[in-house]
Symmetry: C2
Subunit: 574 residues, 2 copies
């Protein structure tokens, strides 16, 4: 008797579209009674939503266990002192929730757990024999997002699986990284997600190699660049594309021309009659090594993530304040250019071959025309720092890239020794030499998966649960629960399905058939069985599959119904 | 191949007794690699400890599901505003962790979840038809204890199961309360605990009826009063005992006598030659209704919990500062007495029949002798507010009570309408009338259970796991893992036991047999199998049961070993 009666369950559905929700998954999670909002970015999971969440959690756990990762539990409350030792108490900034205990000690609510697990490794790992070792946990994480939105997609309290691996060699890290890549792919596939693994920026985590797993969805907050020719896939922020062809034209002598009040690319195109591709934009940055000028062609956008990634300096920031910019560069803001600037210059590759470029004159109301990189100004480093666009040539094969939107449901990182060096986590190698532990870390947004799944699996009427994470596999609508014969039949069928290992929700509410069918679609259970007068008169139970509306009817006997439902569900698995 | 190899596991054992631990369970949880300390009262669970914790969690979940409670998840971060509406933002005091988000909004880290669940009920429950409803969750709770100690026993971040029930009638509440009582008893029994359910104070939760489930242990922080004659059991703080017989003697006239510098019971006994039972101590309290004098006989202790419970005023506090006491009472501290005091007087029942009592004179250096309650001073309320002592007559049957120590592993409360009234959670009854929802709440200290179990189940050598929560059921010690024949046999047996549904830890470490036996005892796995030269030469595998040291040997064949191990484990279940 483990099936669930709706009247003894808490599954409040909404007829109205909630005003607070912008995207389908958020709307449906509210309307189908999965979640409720407690505060901005903070949700409670009602029993129906929690059932689905637990199924996702179970899949994640099984796939982690399958590759030998060991489950454990790190505390949410983490001492300030630990975060100060890696410098991330500041680096994380206001996105980290902080508090002080009654004795005045500072704590963070863990947004992630590298510090604390590295300290664990420093304590417990002595020798190369203790590795490789992979630890993981599933628990709440906390990030004080500036703009929480989209329900569980960008929440301030959310459920995450985080794993950390420890290695004596880079080869070993790469092996575990590949295992994780595979386990992640299996996890998302089992959850029913259409996803793509993309090269990713490493951000505040540090490290060199990283992949994100993106569930493809128009409502996603991330953008991904895909090459259908060679399979290259990357987060747009780090997508490598070939530099565009240089603009036509020939070299000519450098000339300083008056461009009074003309500052933007658009104004220069108008005023000088050049193409945007002939213009070079100069941005000013400051970091721990001082000022830096950054050049990008006028028809391109600077992709700051690529720049930051290449610089490897978390303090590097763009100078946007005219006063500060002039103090640092000595040149008037809006007329900044690389010629005679006296600070290091980095440029996008597309700047290299412009035959005669327009650049800022470093003098109020003046630009240079006919400027040539290498001849008129020095470029210390050429790199790919322009923003990838739809149709740009793939950096690997040259075919045109497509840009799509995605929801990041997981990310894996080869961290290397950033944390082990900062926290003194070393081991003795085979030669008895002390070396820093090599680390990887691996995250899955468990609660976010639910949102992503619904974003991909819904229609006008409601959710369409993939089988493996459906809260129930069967919903039985009893059309007249006040008619004893109908309830008895429905209960018998529910018990039989339950004994057959299926999870059943029995809709015994005092509602109209129309409302029951409507709600069954809204909550998205894979198979609906209808028990009404026809079932009793004709001895036939009607069934409908949520995904495609396929209808069937079975003799109103327990074994026939179990067989029939199994048949309908089997097609789900294909 | 789901058995676990020790060399690929993280199970660091300590030979040394940890200085930081005071009680056996804390010492053993550190030594056997279950937990590590991160900060005061904050622990990480290593894989071995987490395995046990998950088993306890599963038992709790199964027993909750079995009584129809619905699992869900409330957020840890809870808005200040909600806690202010019940007054508990202040009532909880510094024990509640508080923080401010980037926008300046205040949040508590949930020490419990009555406020938030009552708001949920206010929103989702409309009618008597929606009830009874019981919701539960298993998750981290946070309390900033003044003095965290004993490892997971009194931690600041800990795992708890909390459940809340909603009812249209008190009968319905009592039914669920009884179901919970039974489910709790089953839960603790399955965990292997020897426990007793006792009448309990309700404290900051409010409500009238409450029971605590106490695991009996000398190291427990709580005291329980037990009557073996009638089965009465209560937390000592609320244990009801019959008032003691009045002291011998006869009434005599009231007389004010000089007792210069004589203040304490001991000093009065000495100075006046009376017995402590003839003296009445007067305590001064202030609360929201003003000052209150509280009388207890000189040979008894005041049990403040009983007083607070009877007063139902969370602001009531004892005045200990002499200056403040004199300002409030007008009498000198140390000579306070009930005669002519002009404030309400409450007295323990034992004060009623003292024929000729000594009481304070309300005048520096003076006491009254020959005082008689009712004749010389008014008592507004007699009640049981003395502390129960070993041998005191049971308040129910009069037999002598025993006092024992216990660890509180669960508590259940009939909350009534305290929260629903404060937060406007009402429902429409059968007559269409709006009434406040009647509530119950029910907690289990999931992580604390682990500590309590070990406190009850250990010996000099280490932990002795009860079968149902043992992290593994079998440990196989391979004496020479470098001898291929031994490893092969051990692996074959491990696989066979795994296929038979048993969880196996294979000790393949490069350690001496002595160390392996020592660690096997320390980590407390129910059955140890030894695979060494004897197993190969004689074809016999030796086994030892942890609980009683019972030894057995089986033919070194897979089915014989599986059968033998099952046999040894079966006895565990009796």
């Amino acid at each position: 008797m483990a099936y669930v009666r709706w009247t003894r369950y808490l599954l409040p559905t909404w007829k109205e579209e909630p005003a607070e929700a912008e995207i389908p998954s958020h709307r449906l999670m509210l309307r189908a009674g999965l979640i409720r909002r407690v505060a901005s970015g903070i949700y409670e999971f009602l029993p129906f939503g929690y059932r689905a969440l637990r199924k996702v959690e179970r899949i994640v756990r099984e796939e982690m266990d399958a590759i030998g990762a060991l489950e454990m539990k790190l505390p949410v409350l983490q001492p300030e002192e630990l975060w100060r030792r890696t410098g991330r108490w500041e680096d994380f900034g206001p996105e980290m929730f902080k508090l002080t205990d009654r004795k005045g000690q500072g704590f963070a609510l863990g947004p992630t757990h590298e510090e604390i697990i590295t300290e664990l490794a420093a304590r417990e790992i002595r020798s190369w024999r203790d590795m490789p070792l992979t630890l993981y946990q599933i628990g709440e994480k906390y990030r004080d997002e500036i703009r929480p939105r989209f329900g569980v997609m960008r929440a301030r309290e959310f459920l995450m699986k985080d794993a950390y691996s420890f290695h004596g060699s880079w080869d070993s890290l790469e092996e575990t990284y590949r295992d994780m890549y595979t386990a992640y792919s299996r996890t998302f596939t089992r959850c029913g997600l259409v996803f793509v693994a993309v090269e990713a920026p490493t951000g505040v985590m540090g490290g060199d190699v990283s992949h994100e797993f993106m569930a493809v969805a128009d409502t996603g907050e991330d953008e991904i660049a895909l090459c259908s020719a060679c399979g290259y896939a990357a987060n747009r922020q780090v997508a490598h594309t070939e530099p565009p062809d240089p603009p036509p034209g020939e070299e000519r002598p450098l000339e300083l021309v008056a461009t009074p009040g003309v500052r933007t690319v658009e104004e220069l195109v108008e005023f000088l009659g050049v193409s945007p591709a002939q213009i070079v934009k100069t941005f000013l940055y400051v970091g721990r090594d001082g000022a830096l000028a950054v050049l990008v062609r006028g028809d391109q956008e600077l992709e700051e993530t690529k720049l930051l990634q290449a610089a490897g300096d978390p303090t590097l920031r763009r100078v946007d304040d005219p006063g500060e910019a002039e103090r640092i560069s000595g040149a008037p803001f809006g007329f900044l250019g690389p010629i005679g600037l006296g600070i290091p210059v980095w440029a996008d590759e597309s700047v290299r071959d412009i035959p005669a470029a327009v650049v800022g004159g470093n003098r109020e109301g003046y630009h240079y025309v006919g400027a040539r990189a290498g001849r008129d100004f020095r470029v210390d480093r050429y790199l790919d720092i322009h923003r990838a666009r739809e149709g740009d040539p793939c950096g690997r094969c040259g075919s045109p890239l497509r840009i799509r939107r995605g929801i990041e449901v997981g990310q894996i990182f080869q961290l290397g020794t950033k944390y082990s060096e900062a926290l003194g986590a070393t081991f003795l190698d085979r030669d008895g030499e002390e070396r820093p532990i090599i680390m990887g870390c691996y995250g899955i947004g468990v609660s976010r998966i639910l949102g992503a799944v619904i974003e991909q699996h819904h229609d006008e009427a409601g959710i369409i649960w993939p089988l493996e994470i459906a809260p129930f596999q069967v919903v039985i609508a009893v059309l007249r629960p006040d008619v004893p014969e109908q309830m008895e039949l429905a209960e018998r069928l529910a018990s039989a399905l339950d004994r057959a290992g299926l999870e059943v929700l029995l809709d015994d509410r005092d509602r109209s058939p129309g409302e029951k069918f409507h709600d069954a679609k809204l909550i998205g259970i894979p198979v609906l069985l209808v028990v009404g007068p026809r079932a009793l008169q004709r001895g036939e139970v009607e069934a409908e599959r949520r995904r495609d509306g396929a209808k069937a009817s079975f003799p109103a006997a327990e074994d026939a119904v179990v067989r029939g439902v199994r048949e309908l569900l089997r097609a789900e698995l294909i």
